[in-house]
Symmetry: C2
Subunit: 307 residues, 2 copies
């Protein structure tokens, strides 16, 4: 009889899923990555990864960090659902319920970006710093604010990507690509906005493309608002677009300009090199955060209907 | 010998100060209101109000809720200061230290808008609802988010008034009046922005003035961002400009339009009548909150150097 000594993690992203298992985090013992297609085939792949380990009695619990918007209130009839997503086929998907029903182990559930924030706070760049903010800018834009290591929760799970920011149509006549809000932050600055603007993907723009100055402006405006609203002690800024590391110093100086001395904290006045930083766990922030959630860290509530 | 059974409150606002004392809140037993002039004469008036009661041994503690930005970190050398304010004469004023030194009773210190939020949460419109947001739109703009009844604190005391929001210069060519950020929320929508735009005060515009639709747009944009970032369970919207009660339904419907079904919570989908509401304590939210702080409610830390 094997002990249930492994924790599972699922980063259920809008582009790809990463599933992993380990008894010694942050080292991953087993992992798989696959593209996000339709819900039934994607969740089937999740089951195929975990089932052999579960059947051998090796899995204590699984953390599920899913792309949003999601319902995180355990008392809601749609708890565990991906709700108003524009992603085709995924609207109103009971992702937690489906996986719990098939796998029969305890789950802990929250947003994908909460997973990344918890991963970085547990083993990565924001370790031990509180409160912290994680913002990802990639295919989508999402933020998670951790207070005492746990994601802020109120009426709904917030993800900050759809806030409204200044949009100077003289500099950027693009109308915005968000199906809900047109030129919100995500509608101006996420991957699909770049593709809609230029007919090619962000990956295919050169570092010299003048668009990046607009991207800096949008990210810096959003971070300024988040600093003035949440006042985190550290900001981990990740996501596909932030692979362009030349963006970090440009964003830091633009945030400093936009705040313009109004927030007089040393971390901000001294240039922000240690305030707005890249993730330390690379592509594994999210799945490691999901594993931390499975271990009872980061404090999202265990899913009801616990096995 | 009289017992120290009274709690004091000071709402130290940028326009007026309210000082009050009571042993039976929310009823106020003694109170005074005066205009905010220069620091030394204004703080002298505060002392004159409290001193007779303190000399008779009647005052247990005083809550001080001051206009910002303020330093609320007790470990900072400028703890208790009003810092980077544009208000003439008040920059870098050690308001807490001055009052503590002269009055010699224990103080509790936080932002004026935290006081209003705590007042409404203790005895007013948001009583018992958590998390809650209080936003005031008047001479200045400030917000306070209470989680478990206490103001969120991180790197700095946040007040949300200076967030960046969309500004359509075709509809509103005004450049903005914030000395730090020009056309931030406060620079577009607070009282001084109205005066700078029209050469007369907001009080002197009629209800029919088309400007109010711009004001609705700015307040609704800011609330949308705060909902997407903080997800409060209730929003108390106060301040001088909100004396125009016809603004409430316009703001509620514009927030609903801007969110556009993305946040699918009943409170928001059902039209927001019970979600974005006026204060219940009128002009006394702030001073009653300061009294609640003095009583140990709302949890700002007691000031060091406690008598």
């Amino acid at each position: 009889m094997l002990h249930k000594n492994m924790f599972g993690g699922i980063e259920a992203g809008g582009t790809k899923f990463i599933c992993a298992l380990t008894s010694e985090p942050p080292r991953l013992e087993h992992q798989v990555t696959f593209s996000t297609t339709d819900p039934s085939s994607t969740l089937e792949q999740v089951r195929l990864f975990f089932e052999p380990f579960i059947q051998q009695g090796m899995v204590a619990s699984i953390g599920l960090a899913a792309f949003g918007p999601v319902e995180v209130n355990p008392f809601s009839p749609t708890y565990g659902y991906i709700t108003a997503t524009p992603k085709p086929g995924w609207r109103d998907t009971n992702i937690l319920g489906e996986l719990q029903r098939h796998l029969g182990v305890p789950f802990v559930f929250h947003l994908d970006v909460s997973g990344s924030a918890i991963g970085e706070h547990t083993w990565g760049a924001s370790r031990g710093i509180d409160p912290s903010l994680y913002l990802t800018v990639g295919t989508g834009i999402g933020g998670a604010y951790l207070l005492n290591g746990a994601p802020l929760s109120g009426l709904a799970a917030v993800e900050m990507g759809h806030i409204r920011i200044p949009h100077d149509r003289l500099k950027d006549p693009f109308e915005g690509s968000c199906p809900y809000h047109q030129d919100c932050f995500e509608g101006l600055a996420a991957g699909p906005a770049i593709t809609a603007r230029f007919g090619k993907r962000g990956e295919d723009l050169t570092d010299e493309d003048p668009f990046w100055l607009l991207e800096v402006e949008y990210i810096a405006s959003a971070l300024t608002n988040l600093i003035l609203t949440l006042s985190p002690r550290i900001i981990v800024l990740g996501g596909g677009i932030m692979q362009r590391s030349f963006l970090y110093p440009l964003i830091r100086s633009r945030v400093t300009e936009l705040l313009n001395g109004y927030v007089r904290e040393d971390a901000i006045l001294s240039g922000m090199d240690d305030y707005i930083i890249p993730p330390a766990l690379g592509r594994y922030s999210g799945v490691l955060g999901a594993i931390a959630m499975a271990m009872g860290l980061g404090n999202p509530q265990p899913a009801l209907g616990y096995s």
